[in-house]
Amino acid sequence: MKKYTRRQTLKTLGGAATAAMVPSSLLTAARAFAEMSPWKPEKGASIRMLRWKRFVASEGESTEALLKAFTQATGVNIRLDSEGFEDLRPKAAVAASIGSGPDIIWTIHADPHLYPNAMLDMSDVADYLGNKYGGWYPIAKDYSIRKGQWISLPYTFSGNFLNYRISQVKKAGFSSFPANTDDFLTLMTELNKAGTPGGFALGNASGDGNCWAHWVLWSHGGKMVDSNDNLVLNSPETVAGLEYVAKLGETFIPGVASWLDGHNNKAFLQGACSVTNNGISIYAAAVREGMSNIANDMDHAYWPTGPAGVPTEFHVQFPMTVYNHTKYPNACKALLAWLMEAEQYDKFMEASVGYLSHPLKAYDNNPVWTADAKRRVFKDTVTRSRTFAHAGSLGYAAASAFADFIVVNMVAEAAIGTKTPAEAAKDAHRRAERYYKI
């Protein structure tokens, strides 16, 4: 009879418990990949991974299950920690500057451009995935490639579009959501007249505030810098955009000046706000909480096109970054490549129910985009987005100006009317000078 020691028993039980949680199909896929993968994990490899705190429970669980399957198939241990992304970003920066910490950080925005030398070159993984899955959308490359090298993997984007109440927009005289800025202003004016106003966050809301403020600035041809990173914020186009904002601001629901990221979700779900901008979270919450009066009467729309004549949207990127201080670069590459393979990425997208969009062209056909017609605009997140550094390069200047809410504050000043559009543009330009001087 075989004698079990305590340790062996624990091991066996632990293994059985984990095995029970990972679906066998996932495990088979992971084993198959481990056989075929161009990257063979180092012997005894173990990975520390840090991610932003999940928005949707199902996505978090799905990602954890994927990591477990990878561990079972390859024997690579993975420790997953999570942090709210306000706290995650300084941690990532510290890991970069001291050269120790997590091996993989799933972070936000273009942060790898702040410490490109600490990043492992991911070009081989990006090429492999790009060749296999129809290529990367241009915005994914804009965010990831620095001096010809992929310094991060553009794992996913979070779409931020217009959320509107179908019946109220119809009552205001529009059978479909307006596609240009003039009609959009008419709609907002009519909605306000009808006593069902919309509203956009004017507080220091890092997500919704930035998304709508950058859209409105760009929609009229205004921009922070030109393609050579020369500051051109104080321009006739910017002023025109802010004049538009001033008119739009008069139609907003009272209180928008104090709105942070969560306020519009709440107001919309309460039925107090007819149009706002958001990810799919308002809709997802309405469906989840069984608020069918809201869920059935709402839909999403692209941002209207302005005088600039092209879509001018801003959506947030969540890149995967591998640090070159990792002792197990191949294990990290194998893991990320595996996560982005169709079988796994499909699961990730389905679990994200539209919150998170794909950067690889082949994933356009994922059922998540057709399962519910109200998710369809989020499919085009990557094709309609610009980087926040538009039209310049990603780096310190762009990141600092962005974090200092220069565009958000400028738009808020014009919308509330504390400054004239010309003054707001001039003052914002002056604030931005500091960052673009370096």
């Binding site: 004017l202 009272p254 107001a267 310190y396 000043e413 003052d427 604030r431």
Partner: protein, 312 residues
């Protein structure tokens, strides 16, 4: 002989050292001193140093002298944050002191279930700041504020108050939240001070025909000044460096109307990645804090007459 002498001398040196009070005192202070040095002096010095460099998150910087400060002097947002910080500190501290003292005097009287009420008074101070900030966030909500709701139901106003959307309303609102949080600290500490004042003084004054107000201005207040100095120093320091309330409720908005130096420092240094500039903003707070400490130290320190002596 010579050997014995050396041995003797060795012992006596050690014994002498052991008996040297100064040396032993230093030795005993060493652990505390080391901790202070590592956890207080070093970070402070590092902060000052960072403030004079252009360090970015993830990138070492170079020494730029006072450039950060020179730039900040021309930065309208920074100047606004200095104004906000002063307004916030001065208004909140004065009101906290007034209400706190009042509350302390009430609690010092014989009232029923005294211990219970004193415990309740401490509640705002006990609740984690973030939690109370969240509560205020709801109270001040732009659409369904409970305050607006009550006033509308009572027919006082006809639309919701824009607590955090209008710059001046927002300033008043965050100051009110800070006052709510800060009063218990002032009240309970002053209450402790009140209880050290001997009853006999009041009795003597009463016999001399002093009225309530005279007893307050001639006995209570003078004898309370040392503790007021301590309480107000701490209160001013806490208020001046407040961060959590603002960060949760407004993030410094609307249009930076409630940005304090501490929140701006975090926004620029950590979120924006400009560590050097963020440190410079934080360092710019030090002179003001030192001034507050020195003012209360010299202005309100223990006087001789309070200990039964005479003023020179």
């Amino acid at each position: 002989m010579a050997n014995a002498q050396t041995a003797n001398g060795g012992t006596s040196v050690l014994t002498r050292w052991m008996n040297n009070r100064n040396l032993m005192g230093m030795l005993f202070m060493l652990p505390a001193g080391t901790i202070l040095l590592i956890f207080l002096t070093y970070p402070l010095a590092l902060g000052v140093w960072l403030g004079m460099t252009d360090v970015k998150v993830g990138r070492p910087g170079v020494f730029v002298g006072l450039e950060n400060f020179a730039w900040l002097m021309e930065d309208s947002v920074f100047l606004l944050s200095v104004f906000n910080t002063f307004l916030y500190t001065i208004v909140a501290s004065i009101i906290k002191f007034g209400l706190g003292l009042w509350l302390a005097i009430i609690l010092n009287n014989n009232i029923p279930i005294k211990a219970f009420i004193r415990a309740i008074v401490l509640l705002p101070f006990i609740v984690p700041t973030v939690l109370s900030a969240l509560a205020f966030w709801w109270i001040y909500d732009s659409q369904d504020s409970v305050l607006s709701w009550i006033l509308i139901e009572m027919g006082v106003i006809d639309k919701t108050i824009d607590f955090l959307g209008d710059p001046n309303n927002a300033r008043a609102s965050v100051i009110a939240a800070n006052i709510w949080r800060g009063i218990p600290f002032v009240a309970i500490t002053l209450l402790a001070g009140l209880q050290t004042i001997p009853r006999t003084l009041y009795e003597a004054a009463t016999i001399d025909g002093a009225n309530e107000w005279q007893r307050f201005t001639r006995i209570t207040f003078p004898l309370l000044t040392p503790i007021i100095a301590v309480v107000m120093t701490f209160s001013v320091l806490f208020t001046f460096t407040d961060f959590q309330l603002i960060w949760v409720m407004t993030r410094g908005g609307p249009i930076n109307a409630t940005h304090l130096m501490a929140t701006l420092s975090y926004q620029r240094g950590i979120v924006g990645g400009a560590l050097g500039e963020g440190a410079a903003i934080a360092v710019a707070m030090i002179p003001f804090l030192l001034a507050a400490i020195l003012f209360s130290y010299f202005g309100l320190q223990n006087r001789k007459w309070q200990r039964g002596g005479r003023d020179d």
